[in-house]
């Protein structure tokens, strides 16, 4: 069940990147880390999920990918520094991924509410609890998606 849910986030990420950025995402890996994990992630966008299942999902990228995604949203404007507009653009992109994932989850019978995105910068993403991590590659670089479950899904 959990892997079916994770797949909806994976598909939503590919779909939204294709629609919004016209960038083709290639999923290169999907791994389950039962005891948590830690890896470099300069930019992290976290969203909470409640309802059909409880958990969080995170979109992790380096600054270069964030700048390119923000540039597309801003009509091709050149971005060379991280600022609030870049933060807003990648937050909105994550919001669209959340929306697409919610739509797919509802079609599976899981009615979920997703919170507003929280964008943060740091050196690494680290969690001590179990999570799935999907890795993607595109022309802009790498992107990772982490999905954590606080409760098991209940299919209606």
């Amino acid at each position: 069940m959990d892997s079916q849910i994770v797949n909806q986030f994976v598909r939503a990420t590919s779909s939204v990147f294709g629609q919004v950025n016209n960038v083709s995402m290639l999923k290169t890996d999907l791994t389950y880390f039962p005891d948590g994990c830690s890896f470099p992630a300069p930019v992290s966008i976290g969203l909470g999920v409640a309802g059909g299942f409880k958990g969080q999902f995170f979109i992790l990228m380096d600054e270069e990918v964030a700048f390119k995604a923000a540039s597309v949203t801003l009509g091709g404007k050149s971005i060379t520094a991280y600022d609030r507009l870049v933060e807003s653009a990648i937050g909105e992109l994550s919001n669209m991924i959340a929306g697409e994932a919610s739509k797919r989850l509802l079609e599976m019978g899981l009615d979920c509410e997703i919170t507003v995105p929280t964008v943060s910068r740091g050196k690494e993403f680290s969690t001590a609890s179990a999570c799935f991590v999907g890795k993607f590659e595109c022309d802009w670089g790498e992107l990772q998606l982490a999905v954590k479950f606080d409760s098991r899904a209940q299919i209606k």
Binding site: V16, Q19, V20, A70, T73, L74, G75, R84, L85, S88, A89, G91, E92, N95, M96, A98, G99, E100, S102, K103, L106, D111, I114, T115, V116
Partner: protein
């Protein structure tokens, strides 16, 4: 003076993009970042149309639609949200929104929809 549009979205990049789009077509635009701010600004700005996000801090967009319609039963509100699942669309329309545009927002589609309800 052009017709007035209130753009409601917690993402500054969305507000900026829609503001630039509408102003290039000579609409007068005011922005609100939350549902609560939208209700307050609706009363003072008296817009001809509102574009409304759903997921926002404090008051969400569907509650804001209901609150605005209590103030003005003829308010024209278009939802612009990433949440395109059927239950959200239904809830928004039942709350009184005229229609629902799912993000990503395509300028032509947004303009066509706005013009349809303003003309």
């Amino acid at each position: 003076m052009g017709k007035k549009i209130l753009v409601v979205d917690d993402a500054s990049v969305v507000r900026m993009t829609l503001k630039q789009l509408f102003e290039s077509y000579h609409y007068t635009v005011l922005e609100a970042e939350t549902g609560e701010e939208a209700v307050q600004k609706y009363q003072s700005f008296k817009p001809d149309l509102v574009t409304m996000d759903i997921t926002m801090p404090d008051m969400d967009g569907i509650t804001a639609v209901k609150e605005i319609l209590k103030l003005d039963a003829k308010a024209k509100i278009i939802m612009c949200s990433a949440l395109g699942q059927s239950n959200k669309v239904k809830a928004a329309v039942e709350a009184g929104a005229k229609t629902f545009i799912v993000k990503p927002l395509h300028p032509e589609r947004v303009l066509t929809t706005v013009k349809k309800y303003l003309d």
